[in-house]
């Protein structure tokens, strides 16, 4: 029979070393009596042999679990851990079996400790014990955790409060951080801590952030169990807040509406102008477009995207509709397709800033899917409803040539968006006499996955752009 005494301070390392030794010597669980320093001495007076030492391989997930479970208050924790470790020797897969009864108990203990640690991080309340204007300020807290959580949680407070001295005193183990050094000392009875003026402000905050119209006492208590209340200054206010809440809510409901104060009218008459940073680009047409509600597409979109470019442009490009990026920025062809468009334009010797760039439909049509928006092709109806805006842009700019990029643009400009791959590269004439050169849409190139097809499409589109350049030059 072996006996392993695990000290309260440094329990994780001590247990791990002891368990490693027993395992190396093949000592079965029923041959070991595990004891806490604080537990009552063993009545059966077992043979207090020192644990042997040795090296053993253990799943990593077990170690991280054991590092929590050792801090549980249950005296059986060391024995349970070792018994399960013993089982893992023959089959490491037990560690993945969430239905295993032994593992389930250990996981529950692990969860208890984690929760207790979390509550310690949340509910420790410091009071200032030094001078507020000292170079290094000094604070102390009295806390009563449910498990032995001071040691594993102390580092959290070091990471957070390293520029001050602090001590967390508990009946169990106390953590003391002085001059940048952390140490643990045995527990102590509750000390008298000096009053702290900030505590009054904190209670004031707690009382006022509470909304009496929505009493949910159960929800509060499940997250902040009563056992913690005695060390939290704000908790003293809770009974009073609960008791008065219904009356306060009734009072609010019963109070008759009041007349606005006199200053309200004066203030409202002098509201500041809207910030010019956010205004749509100038001109009557763009602002009319941005106010458009002719079809339901305007509702989910961020903004309408009007055409952009010099009013004297000889060349006009028409795409399908703004995409995800254009919808956010409010300018046409600035997303991935826009970048490709810029690249092709430059390669064809065209200057984007000299052309007028717009879309057949001015609002982004999409389907929300989680954190993404899926592009939806506009319907013939939507293209038709939006057509007056495109016609107005054409009338204003009066380009010498329009380039229709893709089916929707061809549909909008020529009344048919069919057979684009056959029609591309050709110039068709509108009823108003304007020539329209049909080409592909840059996003079509982005969607192709076959490298050869991409190369071909790119060459085609480039040829079309060069033709447009020639047309303008000629």
């Amino acid at each position: 029979m072996y006996r392993a005494e695990i000290p309260q301070i440094g329990a994780a390392t001590a247990w791990r070393e002891a368990a490693r030794g027993f395992l190396a010597k093949n000592v079965p669980p029923d041959q070991i009596l595990w004891g806490d320093d604080s537990a009552s001495p063993d009545l059966f007076g077992a043979d207090a042999a020192k644990p042997p030492s040795g090296q053993v391989k253990v799943p990593r997930s077990f170690i991280s679990m054991a590092d929590k479970v050792v801090w549980h208050r249950d005296p059986s924790r060391f024995a349970r851990l070792y018994a399960f470790l013993w089982r893992l020797r023959s089959d490491r897969a037990h560690m993945q079996d969430r239905g295993d009864a032994d593992l389930s108990v250990l996981r529950r203990m692990e969860k208890n400790v984690s929760r207790c640690q979390h509550k310690m991080k949340a509910f420790v309340r410091f009071r200032e014990i030094g001078e507020p204007d000292a170079a290094r300020r000094s604070f102390a807290a009295w806390f009563e955790p449910s498990h032995h959580t001071v040691e594993p949680t102390a580092d959290f407070f070091v990471r957070r409060f390293a520029d001050m001295d602090w001590r967390i005193l508990t009946p169990d183990v106390s953590a003391i951080f002085e001059g940048g050094k952390l140490r643990f000392e045995p527990g102590q009875p509750r000390p008298e801590l000096p009053d702290d003026a900030s505590e009054q402000l904190w209670v004031t905050y707690f009382r006022n952030i509470f909304n009496p119209a929505r009493l949910k006492v159960q929800a509060m208590q499940s997250e902040m169990p009563k056992k913690y209340w005695k060390n939290m200054p704000e908790a003293a206010a809770i009974p009073d807040l609960i008791a008065n809440a219904p009356a306060r809510a009734r009072e609010m409901a019963a109070a008759a509406p009041t007349l606005p104060p006199l200053r309200a009218e004066r203030i409202q008459a002098n509201l500041p102008e809207a910030n010019p940073h956010w205004q749509a680009p100038g001109g009557d047409l763009p602002s009319a477009i941005s106010a458009c509600t002719r079809c339901p597409l305007h509702k989910p979109a961020t903004q309408a995207v009007a055409g952009e470019g010099p009013q004297s442009a000889e060349l006009m490009f028409v795409g399908e509709q703004p995409g995800d990026h254009e919808d956010l920025v409010g300018r046409p062809f600035v997303g991935p397709a826009g970048q490709l468009f810029d690249l092709l334009m430059a390669e064809a010797g065209l200057k984007r800033e000299e052309a007028f760039v717009t879309n057949a439909v001015k609002h982004f049509k999409f389907l929300p899917r989680g954190r993404k928006r899926l592009h939806q092709k506009p319907s013939q109806d939507e293209i038709a409803t939006c057509n007056p805006w495109l016609r107005a842009e054409i009338a204003q700019v009066q380009p010498r040539l329009i380039v229709a990029m893709g089916a929707s643009a061809a549909q909008a400009l020529l009344g048919s968006g069919k057979a684009i791959t056959d029609r591309r590269g050709r110039v068709e004439w509108r009823a108003d006499g304007l020539p329209v050169l049909i080409t592909l849409h840059p996003s079509f190139l982005l969607r192709l996955s076959d490298a050869a097809a991409v190369k071909q499409a790119r060459a085609d589109m480039l040829a079309d752009l060069r033709r447009a350049a020639d047309w303008i030059a000629g």
């Binding site: 993945q96 969430r98 239905g99 991080k121 949340a122 309340r125 200032e128 604070f139 959290f156 990471r159 409060f161 390293a162 001050m164 900030s198 402000l201 904190w202 004031t204 905050y205 707690f206 006022n208 952030i209 509470f210 909304n211 009496p212 119209a213 929505r214 009493l215 949910k216 006492v217 509060m220 997250e223 807040l241 609960i242 809510a249 609010m252 109070a255 509406p257 009041t258 606005p260 104060p261 200053r263 309200a264 203030i267 409202q268 509201l271 500041p272 809207a274 910030n275 940073h277 956010w278 509702k299 989910p300 961020t302 903004q303 990026h325 919808d327 999409f366 929300p368 899917r369 954190r371």
Partner: protein, 411 residues
């Protein structure tokens, strides 16, 4: 007017801030002050330092810089036409409160909001100054959430994002019509543009430059928004439709639903009923199903004819009861997607089922140990030693979960 003490201001300006639901302090960059040169840490998970009897967590010092406001939003306690007592913190007062509360471990950081004073730019500039002072003079490394004023200049929003962990812009109401009706000075399309701007800046800050240098992080904990529920006539389908659009368009971390609650000195234009807390709860459940359980909007909202969620049972159970033909599912064979649809199974339970069933057959007792709520799940699953038999299709299945009907009160 006599001068208000710090405590009086705190009382007024925290009272004025309580209608903002968000108090999250999670999801930002990991940092600490182990070097002893600053104060505070952030470890990814949020910490709720206290809970108020309204069931809401108190993680941050949530205050208004001032509750003076030139706007007149009917639902808001701080609207210009209200007679509530007004106060205004100085920059130093907010900084001091934040630091002193933080040092005593009361809070994770600051959630600063404000009424609009003078102009949106002037107000936003003051808020940014508070954040700047906390970060640069106090070396504060805790959490900062700034409520962003949508009409403020983009430079101010940019600086706010570089100082704060999270930015939020409230959409206020589920529809543009309702915003125009209740918040006449606010422009719904401007609110969306500002949210789009925040998303773009955050994405730009995530791209490495050609030299491989990473630009300063912009609002690392993302952006969120809040919608008031029950002040206008929108049904839940409309509310959730708005959320899915917001999540997908602006990559929001969270949409908060805030049941409209009576306020002191309320406007005559709004119903003063007790806040629809249960509705708010169901909306959050539905929001979770949409984001983590791969439910589609119409699946959740088509269960009831009026497009509102069933208040008596949770939306997942409501969906399952309306689609019983799919059940019972065999936990030993069903796909992950389908297991996520079982009422009483959470994301964790499902991943435990999947990892354990690689090794052996699951029995009924295993499921409870894996964290499943079997009271709900038992009617919908088959496991070793368990078959629900006729239970799945029994007529009174809904009645087993719904609270017993209450006699109407005569008063």
């Amino acid at each position: 007017m006599t001068r208000q003490s710090l405590e009086e201001k705190l009382a007024i300006l925290s009272d004025a801030a309580k209608y903002d639901a968000s108090c999250a302090s999670s999801g930002s960059t990991k940092r600490d002050s182990r070097d002893g040169k600053g104060l505070g840490s952030n470890e990814g998970t949020g910490i709720c330092h206290a809970y108020a009897p309204d069931g809401r967590c108190i993680s941050l010092l949530k205050i208004l810089m001032t509750n003076f406001c030139i706007y007149d939003c009917t639902y808001c306690v701080n609207r210009v036409s209200s007679n509530v007592q007004r106060a205004r913190f100085t920059v130093d007062e907010v900084v001091k409160l934040t630091i002193e509360f933080y040092r005593r471990n009361y809070i994770e950081g600051l959630f600063l909001s404000s009424g609009i004073i003078r102009s949106p730019d002037a107000t936003m500039a003051d808020m940014v100054q508070i954040a700047r002072k906390l970060r640069q003079e106090e070396n504060f490394r805790g959490y900062i959430h700034l409520k962003t004023i949508p009409d403020a200049a983009p430079e101010l929003i940019e600086e706010a994002g570089l100082l704060a962990d999270r930015l939020s812009i409230n959409v206020e109401m589920p529809s543009d019509t309702a915003v125009r009706e209740h918040a006449p000075e606010k422009d719904p399309s401007q609110i969306r543009k500002a949210m789009g701007d925040v998303r773009l800046r955050k994405e730009a800050a995530g791209d490495r430059s050609f030299s491989g240098k990473r630009p300063a992080r912009f609002a690392p904990a993302g952006q969120s928004t809040q919608m008031i529920i029950g002040a206008d006539g929108s049904n839940d389908a409309k509310v959730l439709g708005q959320s899915t659009r917001l999540y997908s368009s602006y990559k929001l971390k969270r949409v908060y639903y805030s049941a409209f609650s009576p306020i002191p000195d309320s406007s005559a234009k709004l119903p003063l009923v007790s806040p629809p807390l249960q509705r708010e709860h169901r909306l959050y459940q539905a929001d979770w199903l949409l984001r983590f359980y791969d439910f589609q909007l119409d699946e959740i909202t088509s269960v009831t004819p009026d497009g509102n969620l069933d208040l008596d049972i949770d939306p997942k159970l409501a969906w399952a009861l309306a689609h019983r033909a799919v059940f019972p599912l065999d936990v030993n064979r069903a796909s992950k997607e389908m297991l996520l649809r079982v009422p009483g199974f959470g994301v964790k339970t499902v991943s435990r089922i999947l990892s354990t069933r690689r090794h052996r057959t699951l029995r009924y007792e295993d499921l409870a140990r894996m964290g499943a709520s079997m009271k709900k799940a038992r009617a919908f699953v088959v496991a070793g030693g368990w078959s629900p038999g006729a239970l799945t299709d029994s007529v009174d299945l809904r009645a087993r979960f719904a609270p017993p009907p209450q006699q109407l009160s005569l008063f």
